[in-house]
């Protein structure tokens, strides 16, 4: 048993062969290699199978509401900047129900690593289209095929000015471990969209489908070039690049507040009602 194992009374609720297991393995390895202790890390998640991650890896966990994984993560980071904050959730949670929080969290550039388990389908509610399901794909709800264009999360993140945008594949654990480590250590908002085929509901984007298509970005790829990154972000078809599409240094949100940057975490500050007495000067 590693330090990230809970004593579980039940087995994980994930299906046998689900990519979530591999993402969990990669995450544990990433945390271990970074030398982080369970109590130093928080996972915030929403609802869905991916969102159950905090139950299957022993770090602090805030398993909140559908689509709402990001706002609590921001609250947590601002309250205690010493914590490593990770968000784990699915494509429906992160891009559908939580779409508004997604775009605004990018604007903040707060120090959070956002790992999206993107299986291009709604698994837990049994096979409806997600925001990333391909146009025309038949599902248990979109009987005649999806009529809307899919959302491209990495392209969207790039246009919004995210400083760290990456794509991973749950079938390539060593590669994913490195992406996760980079994202966790990145000072600011880091998106890793992870292909995690749903073994039950998505008969199109299967492990085999991805295995045939994904390729590592070459070693000489310049991830500081936003134009190139956008080109790579749009590449989705016979060949799909995985790796860090874009990474530049940006001042993280919390450092833009002097009282946060230069003081102890908010949670450690002494509270004294008398400190507020001076504010009466506004009312005399």
């Amino acid at each position: 048993m590693t330090k990230y194992e809970y004593k579980l009374y039940d087995k994980p609720a994930w299906c046998p062969g689900c990519g979530n297991y591999m993402i969990r393995t990669a995450l544990k390895q990433a945390l271990e290699e970074l030398g982080l202790e369970p109590h130093q890390v928080v996972i915030s998640s929403g609802i869905g199978q991916a969102a159950k991650m905090p139950h299957y890896i022993k770090v602090n966990g805030f398993n909140g509401l559908h689509g709402r994984a990001l706002p609590p993560a921001i609250g947590i980071k601002l309250a205690n900047k010493d914590l490593k904050v990770i968000v784990e959730s699915g494509d429906g949670d992160s891009y559908g129900e939580g779409g508004n929080h997604f775009i605004h969290t990018i604007r903040y550039n707060i120090d959070i690593a956002h790992f999206v388990h993107d299986n291009q389908i709604y698994g837990l509610t049994k096979g409806q289209a997600s925001p990333t399901t391909a146009m025309g794909q038949h599902t248990t709800l979109q009987f005649d095929g999806v009529k809307a264009e899919p959302l491209n999360p990495v392209a969207l993140a790039l246009t919004m000015g995210a400083g760290f945008v990456a794509r991973g594949f749950s079938g390539d654990i060593p590669h994913l471990v490195n992406l996760m480590k980079e994202a966790i250590m990145y000072k600011g908002y880091a998106l890793v969209d992870i292909f995690q085929p749903c073994v039950v509901w998505n008969k199109v984007n299967t492990f085999a489908w991805y295995k045939q298509r994904v390729y590592h970005l070459p070693d000489d790829y310049d991830y500081t070039n936003r134009k190139e990154a956008m080109k790579k972000a749009m590449e989705f078809g016979d060949k799909i690049p995985i790796g860090i599409l874009y990474k530049v240094e940006k001042e993280p949100y919390e450092d833009r507040f002097d009282f946060i940057k230069n003081g102890p975490p908010l949670v450690d500050r002494e509270l004294n009602p008398k400190d507020a007495e001076k504010l009466l000067r506004d009312f005399v």
Binding site: Y6, S44, F62, N63, G64, I74, G75, I76, P273
Partner: protein, 556 residues
């Protein structure tokens, strides 16, 4: 003595600035002041007014009868002339309203002389102070505190010029000033800051924005993280994240914004994470009357959220009460690990009143946070089943080797998702047991008026001031009447009402809504029925005079 001054005009003409200077000057002259605001939901234009009432005795509400109208446009005179007392005065600039009983002053001309058109209202302030024979140096001090540099000096020239334009009508003596002047939104923010709130987030919505604004203005100085977030959904979820991580967190909105928070309110109930939320009510449904007042969210707040979980709802009665109750709300939220909802409304949020300075020594910060001693066995149980229903709370990152897991699904003692029927019952029972403790915390309503009265009013929140004024006036006329003014309203305290009720002949519900929500709550919780209801839902606040008149006409 008592006087009432109305300053009216279009939005953007500076009523707030002049109202603020006038009320502060009158306060520093030692008077009790009450300023009522009436404004429209628009940026420029429309008709807005401020009514500054002042007296040598404490004031609790506004009054309809006017001694002075300072009109910034002709519409103001047409709209409010009927409320002017017989010996009242209307003052305005030369160019406005060529009606003969109006006192025309060369206000705009003065501002032209000092080359700043913005200051002609300040000249009006000078004229008003002269009418009461009040000294100019106090007003000049206020101006210097509010403005700086050239603008301050220009305003001072204007106030002096206005002072010369008119003669003394009522000579008043200044008195010693020991008070502060504050509105409800500022009072709530002050209470939160005193209580150690380190995280406040929200989405701007009238009339709640003042809380957000005041918190933001003190962010750097007091080390408070203040966030304007993308929507109210994010606001409460973010506050819960901050609270989970261990800081005192609060959010607020008005009815429509609170509606968006309801999903996360239910989450707070499930993850047993303390949070304070203020609903500054405005007339609804939907967008309603954005800048006006109502008390119609009571039933909504006590039931908000799907499912059953304990929460506390406290109605704020005036800016003094708002400060202490807000501070208290943080302690109760943490003690029981529940959401505490505060209720204010547009009237309370916007009126300013003189009160004695807050006693910060009275504010106690009680955190109820545990350390390693809370860990029994190998792993910490965030939702340990206890007799009180409250589990020891440790903070993430603060106890080595221990993690804190909270979950919106039904969960076991560790916070892990469960589908066990037995665990479900045990967890529901655990959460609901907090109500037992909470019942010990609730405070009975304030009683005002004659002891053991024949006529008893029940009311809540911001109607306190108007009801108090009406009751005192009726008591003065020998009427046996009293009032219970509810602050803690959920769970509903019933003891004091049950004691008084047997001797009561008429039980009168006074509320600013159309259905009598407190009356229905009393029926439900105390099995007592109000014999009369005095309701108002036109978006305008009750004054003491209005309640007095309606009691006379409809009840007594």
């Amino acid at each position: 003595m008592e006087y009432n001054i109305l300053i009216g005009g279009e939005a953007g003409q500076g009523m707030d600035t002049i109202g603020n200077l006038l009320e502060k000057t009158l306060k520093r002259c030692g008077f009790y002041v009450f300023t009522y605001k009436d404004y429209m939901s628009r940026i420029r234009g429309g008709h807005n007014f401020n009514q500054v009432r002042f007296s040598d005795k404490p004031l609790y509400t506004h009054s309809p009868d006017l001694d002075i109208i300072f009109a910034l446009n002709e519409e103001t005179i047409n709209l409010h002339n009927s409320r002017l007392k017989q010996d009242g005065i209307i003052i305005c600039d030369n160019d406005i309203a060529k009606v003969k009983e109006v006192m025309h002053l060369p206000l705009v001309e003065t501002s032209k002389k000092v080359q700043d058109m913005r200051v002609y209202t300040t000249a009006g302030l000078g004229a008003i102070l002269k009418i009461f024979g009040l000294p100019l140096d106090i007003a000049e001090g206020v101006i210097r505190d509010e403005f700086s540099g050239k603008i301050a000096e220009t305003n001072i020239q204007a106030v002096r010029a206005g002072y010369e334009m008119i003669g003394v009508r009522h000579k008043l003596e200044t008195r010693e000033d020991k008070n502060i002047i504050i509105n409800g939104n500022q009072a709530v923010a002050m209470g939160a800051i005193a209580a150690g709130c380190k995280f406040y987030c929200g989405y701007p919505m009238t009339p709640s924005s003042g809380v957000l604004t005041f918190m933001a203005s003190k962010s750097d100085e007091m080390g408070i993280m203040v966030q304007q977030v993308e929507d109210e959904v994010a606001a409460l979820n973010m506050a819960l994240g901050a609270s989970y991580a261990g800081v005192r967190a609060m959010t607020g909105s008005s009815g429509g914004g609170f509606a968006l928070m309801v999903e996360a309110l239910s989450l707070a109930g499930m993850i047993e994470t303390p949070v304070v939320v203020i609903d500054v009510q405005r007339p609804a449904p939907a967008t309603g009357f954005p800048t006006r007042t109502e008390q119609a969210d009571l039933r909504f707040l006590i039931h908000a959220g799907h499912g059953e979980f304990p929460r506390m709802v406290i109605a704020l009665r005036d800016p003094e009460d708002a400060f202490y109750q807000t501070a208290r709300a943080f302690n109760i939220a943490e003690k029981y690990q529940i959401p505490v909802l505060l209720m204010s409304d547009e009237y309370l949020s916007d009126y300013t009143v003189t009160i004695k300075p807050y006693d910060f020594g009275k504010v106690k910060i009680e955190r109820y946070i545990s350390g390693p001693e809370a860990v029994e066995g190998e792993e910490y149980k965030r939702f340990k089943i206890t007799e009180s229903g409250v589990s020891p709370r440790i903070l993430p990152g603060k106890v080595e080797g221990q993690v804190v897991l909270v979950d919106s699904d039904e969960h076991d003692e560790w916070g892990h998702i469960t589908e066990s029927a037995e665990m479900r019952v045990a967890m529901v029972d655990k959460r609901m047991r907090k109500l037992e403790g909470l019942r010990q915390e609730i405070e009975e309503p304030w009683f005002i008026g004659k002891e053991n009265p024949e006529n008893l009013i029940v009311c809540w929140g911001s109607t306190y001031g108007a009801v108090r004024e009406a009751v005192e006036r009726l008591n003065g006329e020998g009427v046996s009447i009293g009032a219970l003014v509810y602050g803690d309203i959920w769970p509903l305290p019933t003891k004091r009402l049950m004691e008084l009720y047997p001797k009561v002949q008429k039980l009168i519900d006074i509320e600013q809504n159309a259905t009598g929500q407190l009356d229905s709550l009393i029926k439900e919780k105390a099995l007592i029925r109000c014999s009369h209801k005095i309701l108002k839902y036109d978006g305008r606040a009750f004054s003491g005079v209005e309640i007095y008149n309606r009691l006379k006409e409809e009840v007594l």
